[in-house]
């Protein structure tokens, strides 16, 4: 009998993303209608698509949804945008929020569209939409209408503020969700250190909010399929999600009237557990300013034992005596002293020098990696966290892997995106029985 592999090898074999294609998919047989634009709604549906659901993304005819027209500095684009608009491309803003989906076009305003939507909803398990509250109801395709044609439908609305209450008419974006919800105001360096509130660079409130909604959809499907047999309406407010994340801030304010403020790259609860500046760049000769900039590294030595080791490494044994207790180290004024000492020590080093010295001493650390360093990192490559995919429409694309791993039914990336309306014939033909001439008529009338 062969001996069992060591645990790491076992895990590597179990979770290898290259074997994912040979394994079953959790949501195979579930159909999702994604009537979404921007990031919050699309990302929600895309997580279900990674789990194998048949997600039909429904966009405005010809030019598609607005996110296709966003791309960093207006540079990278994937051509064609659609068969009707071959001279334009899809911007990378759309990328990452719509993998594995089928793409159809439909003008929701039109009476013909309403009929198509009712028929699609009757054959679907989930519908996700993020239009302004009440818009779909006005068009006759809201929850009240869809639940009549399909009581098993899980109908997810997502948006900024929710459809009721004083702020219901307000439009929102990710950055506004971060700002109003409170995460923006507490992130960034403190004012007395020259800082300002800082945006989380990713569209955090959107992409993570979509994840939250996907959690509630999966829970609703579980409840439907194991307990009740019923669908439901779910409302996700992005700004509500952000407020949920504020950790101790609300109870601290409520109980003691203390307002949580910015604390930059250090940690309010642990010390040493912060990001410091190293004096040197890892790539001093690079012409790319992203590489020529000096390095940064997280140093984590908050236990007494690790802190003592750290003081030895930086040649400041006196600090180990002065701040022997965590309760002392973590005080605001002492954090300043300690991180200043660390930055002085790191002044003549780059982040790898610092990492090597700390590794040798057994102290946790993590260099601040840029997009290139992450993309080329053997750890992330081996795990498929970033991966090259052979996209049927756009060729080789560098893509993020799914957000989590499963041994038996792994989520996976099959393709990144498709042009607007690429699956019109397939979806309308197969699901609604539209003939070639119906399709041609709908296209001519610009219903699709």
């Amino acid at each position: 009998m062969a001996t069992a592999p060591d645990f790491e090898t076992y895990c590597q074999q179990l979770f290898d993303h290259k074997t994912a294609a040979g394994k079953p998919e959790v949501l195979k047989g579930y159909r999702v209608l994604s009537c979404t634009q921007y990031i919050l709604g699309p990302s929600c549906a895309s997580y279900l698509a990674e789990l194998g659901a048949e997600v039909i993304k429904i966009e405005a005819p010809r030019r598609g949804e607005p996110m296709r027209h966003t791309t960093p500095f207006n540079e990278p684009l994937l051509y064609p945008l659609s068969r009707w608009v071959p001279e334009a491309g899809t911007g990378l803003g759309f990328f990452g929020a719509n993998p594995n989906e089928e793409f159809v076009s439909l003008d929701f305003h039109r009476p013909e569209a309403r009929q198509a939507m009712l028929e699609l909803a009757a054959k679907s398990d989930v519908m996700v939409q993020n239009y302004r509250p009440g818009t779909f109801d006005r068009w006759g395709i809201g929850y009240q209408h869809m639940s009549k044609v399909n009581p098993r439908l899980v109908y997810q609305w997502l948006g900024g503020f929710g459809g009721w209450g004083p702020g219901r008419v307000r439009a929102s974006y990710d950055i506004l969700g971060q700002a109003m919800g409170g995460a923006f105001g507490i992130t960034g360096e403190a004012a007395d250190r020259g800082g300002t509130p800082a945006k989380h660079t990713i569209w955090l409130a959107d992409y993570w909010g979509g994840m939250m909604a996907a959690v509630s959809i999966l829970a609703a499907l579980y409840w439907r399929d194991t307990v009740s047999g019923e669908g439901t309406f779910i409302e996700y407010s992005q700004v509500h999600g952000v407020t949920r994340q504020l950790e101790s801030a609300l109870p601290l304010y409520g109980r003691y009237g203390v307002r949580r403020e910015r604390w930059g790259n250090w940690d309010t609860e642990l010390c040493v557990h912060g990001i410091i500046q190293c004096g040197k760049s890892s790539y001093p000769d690079s012409k790319n300013p992203q590489e020529a900039e000096v390095g940064y590294i997280l140093v984590s030595a908050h236990t007494d034992e690790d802190f003592k080791k750290l003081c030895d490494v930086i040649g400041k044994k006196d600090l180990a005596t002065t701040f022997a207790k965590h309760d002392d180290r973590v005080k605001a004024e002492n954090q300043t002293t300690l991180y200043e000492a660390l930055e002085i020590w790191a002044k003549d080093k780059n982040k790898e020098d610092v990492a090597t010295l700390l590794d040798k001493a057994g102290i946790n650390n993590q260099p601040v990696w840029n997009a290139k360093e992450v993309s080329e990192n053997p750890h992330w490559k081996m795990r498929g966290s970033v991966q090259w995919i052979d996209d049927p429409n756009f060729g080789d694309l560098h893509h993020q892997g799914p957000a989590f791993k499963m041994s038996d039914t792994p989520p996976r990336i099959k393709w990144a995106l498709k042009p607007v309306g690429a699956d019109n014939e397939k979806v309308y033909g197969r699901l609604l029985g539209w003939t070639k001439s119906t399709l041609a008529k709908m296209e001519e009338m610009e219903v699709i």
Binding site: L92, G93, A198, S248, Y253
Partner: protein, 468 residues
């Protein structure tokens, strides 16, 4: 200064608006839609409705980092019977408090034991038991507990549970239906796998997030971490998706559990939008762009009179509405923008110098306005906008109060606690808060009796031997 007393206002300092105030001036027809939504979704109705996950029992063995707590919170908010299983001296998070200030902790009415507010916020709807897994007897008890569990969550150093004989490989033999989730920063396999003690923001730094957040160097900025253990929140949410997917598969298809692995870093890598595509496209390394956006203009936070203020308008119609608003008080600025032919199409406004021009002029307008006044002007034109809220403003925002995004819960043990409510609002089976948290080992007697048939004398024996 620390002993300086100040009066803490009770919450809410300003009363929550009533429906009549909120919908004043609307016709009956216009009121109908929001009121019908309210009737379906109001959190005060939650307890008349069932919960999604009441058939599921979760055992959360994670400690020291919030990713496991966050993950189990997602499930406990949705109704799962969730047991937080801590070492006999407690999850270290339990005792953490900002700047080490014990006066910022709270005590419960029965044991008088202090608890950190960060930990308390993620202890919702969970019971607390203790178990020493370093002892053989503790591990034997765990094997008996998992027979009764659907989900197990742990975040010990990679391979630790396996070496102890309580890893996925061993527990699936005891309970083949168990969904076993490991959570961490970078993973339990691979050349940079987790080391003991790795905590967020390790993941934030390792995934490209920190590098991309904050102002560019030229604006005096540095790479910046999230104030929150944000990567843990993302990774914990992602893992909860994996767990729910595994439960669906178990109960609809296979009858078997499986192994789920979720990391804080990979959760964030997944949502770092076009970082990887852009690098693959032409080797671009996404730069920090502060409070502006590389791919959308107008979409930014800039200073105003009393803080920082966001304006967003990602398409041409909104662009003109924004400058029309500006023109009401500063027609010079409106003219300057609208006269510039190079800025007339949305995509043409994205290059860096065009963004600099846009925001220089926009900030010139908003510097004379408070957040509230600027918002009033822009909302009149239906432009998405709003201030960067401080925490007291979050707690008192009328919209948040009205909808219960922020609420005060009167807990049997901890008294009144202001908290961020679950965002899982639903017509049929919504999430909810049932209790805010539990002191360490509070539920030992109940759980060990209920699940293992151990009476008070048995539990006292375990306590004496330091097992619980």
């Amino acid at each position: 200064m620390a002993d300086m007393k100040h009066k803490v206002l009770s919450w809410p300092a300003v009363p929550i608006p009533t429906p009549d105030e909120v919908y004043a001036g609307l016709t009956d027809q216009a009121k109908e839609y929001p009121l019908s939504l309210e009737a379906q979704l109001r959190q005060s109705e939650n307890f008349k409705k069932p919960e999604c996950l009441t058939t599921i029992r979760v055992l959360d063995l994670s400690k020291g980092m919030i990713i496991g707590n966050w993950c189990s919170s997602m499930l406990s908010e949705l109704g799962a019977d969730t047991i937080k299983c801590e070492p006999p001296d407690g999850d270290p998070l339990r005792w953490q408090t900002p700047f080490g200030r014990k006066e910022y902790m709270v005590k419960d009415a029965e044991t008088d034991e202090p608890i950190g507010l960060h930990f308390l916020h993620e202890m919702r709807n969970k019971q607390s038991i203790t178990l020493d897994l370093e002892k053989e007897e503790g591990r034997e008890l765990l094997k008996k507990l998992v027979v009764h569990c659907d989900v197990l969550i742990e975040n010990y150093p990679p391979g630790q549970f396996d070496a102890w004989g309580i890893g996925y490989r061993q527990l699936k033999e005891i309970n083949p239906r168990l969904v076993y989730a490991w959570v961490g920063q970078k993973g339990q396999w691979g050349p940079s796998k987790d080391k003991p003690g790795n905590l967020d923001p390790t993941a934030q730094a390792a995934c490209g997030f920190v590098h991309g957040t904050g102002l560019p160097k030229e604006f005096g900025g540095r790479p910046t971490r999230s104030a929150m253990w944000m990567a843990d929140h993302v990774g914990g949410t992602a893992t909860a998706m994996g767990i729910l997917a595994a439960l669906i598969y178990r109960d609809k298809v296979s009858g078997k559990g499986q192994f789920v692995e979720g990391t804080a870093a990979e959760g964030v890598i997944r949502i770092l939008d076009y970082n990887w595509a852009w690098y693959g496209f032409d080797g671009s390394i996404r730069p920090r762009y502060g409070n502006w956006d590389l791919a959308i203009n107008i979409y930014a936070v800039n200073p105003c009179k009393d803080g920082y203020f966001m304006v967003g308008g990602g398409h041409d119609r909104l662009w003109y509405r924004i400058w029309r608003t500006v023109g009401q008080t500063r027609s010079d600025l409106e003219d300057e923008m609208l006269d510039d032919k190079s800025l007339r199409v949305v995509t043409a406004r994205l290059p860096h110098l065009k963004q600099v021009k846009t925001y220089t002029i926009l900030a010139d307008w908003q510097k004379d306005f408070s957040r509230a006044d600027a918002m009033r002007e822009l909302l009149a034109q239906q432009v998405a906008s709003g201030g960067v809220n401080y925490i007291d403003e979050v707690a008192e925002d009328p919209h948040f109060k009205y909808r219960g995004h922020v609420d005060e819960f009167e807990d049997r043990l901890y008294g009144k606690v202001l908290y961020g409510t679950t965002p899982f609002l639903a017509h049929k089976a919504p999430g909810r808060l049932k209790w805010i948290g539990r002191p360490l080992g509070y539920d030992n007697e109940e759980i060990y009796l209920k699940l293992l048939g151990l009476g008070p004398t048995d539990v006292a024996g375990l306590k004496k031997r330091g097992v619980v």
